[in-house]
């Protein structure tokens, strides 16, 4: 911590005459910066740790067993799978469908609930907030134990049994959608809540009601556009969750969701597994950056 000696030298531009302090944050740095060597060491090590595996994995996927560079691992991803096996696109589309269903159901459930809380039922907010946080306390593995316990309790025959059989069908695994809505709830609640708090919903609603708008118009043409960023954020959180969820899907014996499909690829094709991982990471990263850019632009618009 005794870095005072080189601290000033390392940040010479901070020494000249103290300007009017527009940025309060700056003022701390006028004193000899404590440990900029330490800082760069930390940043470098972190950079190597976080970027290293990505580069290593990419180079691994491009390795040709006979030497040289080969894109065969990536070509194999999209190759037609042997009959009876699931292909990359099938798995991806399957997960995409689950993701879309999850997003729709989550928004249908949470958006009206949270608007109602804000507009009419402030008293209930605390209770609802605590409930939405509960899924964080019960890990997916725990929830899935409970769900399979419920399934085994239901007797063959009755209407409940046909209902559970229906939602467990491999073609439309509604049970996964239902559980993912719960898993996404803590994040979706916070994202929507931030959006709803940032607009003056009550005034907007009263103004549009006074101008003769019906409730549907208020919801679809006044509130939803104002909450666009929050809704997109929430949707993306659901999307990321579903595309990466392995625990529940695999324990309930679904083999088509993307992560489960990825895990069950034959280990002999380690190159393909790594290639798919890199590919899916880049896909998710690109989407996240897109969302980030969207938020950033909106924030800039508001400021400007």
């Amino acid at each position: 911590m005794s870095t005072t000696a080189y601290g000033t030298a390392a940040a010479p531009e901070l020494v000249p005459a103290a300007p009017v302090d527009q940025h309060p944050r700056r003022s701390r740095r006028r004193r000899p910066a404590s440990g900029s060597i330490a800082r760069w060491t930390i940043l470098t090590i972190s950079g190597v740790y976080f970027i290293g595996p990505l580069i290593a994995a990419i180079s691994f996927t491009l390795q040709n067993p006979k030497g040289g560079v080969s894109f065969s691992a990536y070509r194999q991803i999209f190759a037609k799978p042997p009959t009876g096996q699931i292909g990359f696109t099938t798995a991806l589309v399957y997960s995409l469908e689950i993701a879309v269903a999850t997003i729709v159901l989550t928004l249908l459930l949470m958006l009206p609930t949270q608007l109602l809380l804000q507009l009419r039922l402030q008293r209930w907010r605390g209770l609802v907030e605590i409930i939405t946080l509960l899924p964080l306390v019960f890990p997916p593995v725990v929830l899935v134990v409970g769900v399979s316990d419920v399934f085994t309790q239901i007797h063959h025959g009755g209407p409940l049994y046909s209902f559970t059989t229906f939602i467990r069908d491999q073609h439309h695994p509604l049970v996964l959608v239902f559980l993912y809505v719960i898993q996404a709830m803590p994040f979706v609640y916070r994202s929507l809540d931030a959006g709803i708090r940032s607009i003056d919903a009550r005034t907007l609603v009263e103004a549009s009601r006074n101008l003769g708008a019906g409730w549907v118009t208020v919801l679809l043409r006044v509130l939803m556009p104002c909450l666009r960023t929050a809704i997109i954020n929430a949707g993306f959180l659901c999307f990321a969750l579903v595309m990466g969820e392995y625990t529940i899907a695999s324990i309930l014996l679904y083999n088509k969701p993307f992560p489960v499909w990825l895990a069950q690829l034959p280990t002999t094709s380690g190159h393909v597994q790594a290639a798919v991982s890199v590919f899916s990471l880049l896909l998710v990263e690109a989407l996240l950056l897109l969302i980030g850019a969207l938020n950033w632009r909106r924030a800039a618009e508001k400021r400007g």
């Binding site: 309060p24 944050r25 701390r28 740095r29 910066a33 800082r39 940043l43 740790y49 976080f50 290293g52 595996p53 990505l54 290593a56 994995a57 691994f60 996927t61 390795q63 949470m110 009206p112 109602l116 809380l117 009419r120 039922l121 409930i131 509960l134 899924p135 306390v137 019960f138 890990p139 997916p140 593995v141 725990v142 929830l143 134990v145 409970g146 316990d149 419920v150 309790q153 239902f178 559980l179 719960i182 009263e206 009601r209 006074n210 990321a240 990466g244 969820e245 392995y246 625990t247 324990i251 992560p259 990825l262 895990a263 380690g270 790594a274 798919v276 991982s277 890199v278 990471l281 996240l288």
Partner: protein, 323 residues
């Protein structure tokens, strides 16, 4: 069933809007609008969790076949009794080992992740470059969500047995990670390295706002009063950040304690409790231990629940200073 949803008599609600006061004087039905949410949570979440509590203490013993004296058919009697034996079993033998391994691993990565994470967050929060701050925050948001199977394969391709770094070290430097470095991806140290990949960014994400909330004026005031840099950290910044830091350690602990996919994809027989539960659920148990999964799940709840409550309390305490 809906006792929790019982609407309460509307009290001071009607004052809020002048225009619609005639409408609001009627019993307020808007509470019913919360019914879908409560019913959904009740059925999809509370019910399964309640079943865990119920099953964890229940044992079904199947009796001998008995011939019914009248119909002459064989009947198997089964009786259900409430017992603590499931939970007792879940704390013995391989299950006990798995719980201990889970706790050890989570403690290790929580402490390591928290320390490295706060150093990184501090380095970034105090840097001159806003670009660096934005890039690190954005990258942390991506990486903190990047767990599970793809992450496992990323590390298998890097430092697995045939990974790029492993073969490189072996081929060019004659260094074997396993023999010379005593490092194996499928062992605890390996799993820890992989977990840190998403835990450190998580720590950065939760600590960054706190570090940025440290007011420069506090430092200046401390300095004017004659405090050294160390005094400032020990007496001002440290105590302000401490609840947040401890809370984050708990968050990291819970997050790695509940993780399953990452470890499973690297080593499907790694002895942690989540993997043990999944093997119980797929039928790998002795007869009479069918409810062991519920008991193990209960063990997990008992560990995670108090930590989460403490975490929430610590967060509340933090926000008082760092708003």
């Amino acid at each position: 069933m809906e006792t929790t949803v019982e609407p309460q008599p509307p009290a001071e609600e009607s004052k809020s809007s002048g225009a619609g006061s005639a409408r609001l004087r009627r019993p307020d039905l808007s509470v019913l609008g919360l019914a879908p949410f409560f019913i959904y949570v009740l059925v999809v979440f509370i019910l399964p969790i309640a079943f865990i509590l119920y099953n964890a203490f229940r044992k079904t013993t199947v009796g001998k076949s008995v011939r019914d004296p009248i119909t002459q058919q064989f009947k198997r009697t089964s009786s259900t009794s409430f017992t603590g034996s499931n939970v007792a079993d879940s704390l013995k033998g391989i299950y006990r080992t798995s719980l201990i391994t889970s706790v050890k691993l989570s403690l290790l990565v929580a402490v390591l992740g928290a320390v490295v994470g706060i150093l990184l967050a501090y380095a970034v929060a105090n840097s001159k470059s806003t670009l660096l701050r934005q890039v690190v925050t954005a990258a942390s948001a991506v990486t903190a969500n990047f767990g599970g199977v793809p992450l496992a394969f990323l590390f298998l391709a890097t430092i697995g047995n045939a990974g790029a770094l492993t073969t490189f070290l072996n081929g060019h430097l004659g260094f074997s990670l396993q023999n010379d470095g005593h490092f194996q991806l499928s062992a605890m140290s390996g799993i820890a390295v992989v977990y840190l990949y998403f835990l450190i960014p998580l720590m950065v994400l939760v600590m960054m706002p706190a570090l940025e909330g440290l007011k420069p004026q506090w430092g200046e005031a401390a300095e004017n009063l004659g405090a050294s840099r160390w005094d400032y950290w020990r007496l001002v910044a440290g105590p302000v950040l401490l609840p947040n830091f401890l809370g984050s350690v708990l968050l990291l602990f819970c997050s790695s304690f509940s993780a399953y996919a990452t470890a499973y994809a690297i080593n499907s027989s790694f002895p942690i409790v989540t993997i043990r539960i999944s093997s119980v659920l797929s039928g790998n148990v002795l007869s009479g231990q069918e409810n062991l999964g519920a008991a193990l799940a209960l063990d997990m709840i008992v560990i995670v629940l108090p930590l989460t409550v403490i975490y929430q309390l610590l967060q509340r305490r933090t926000s008082r200073w760092l708003e």
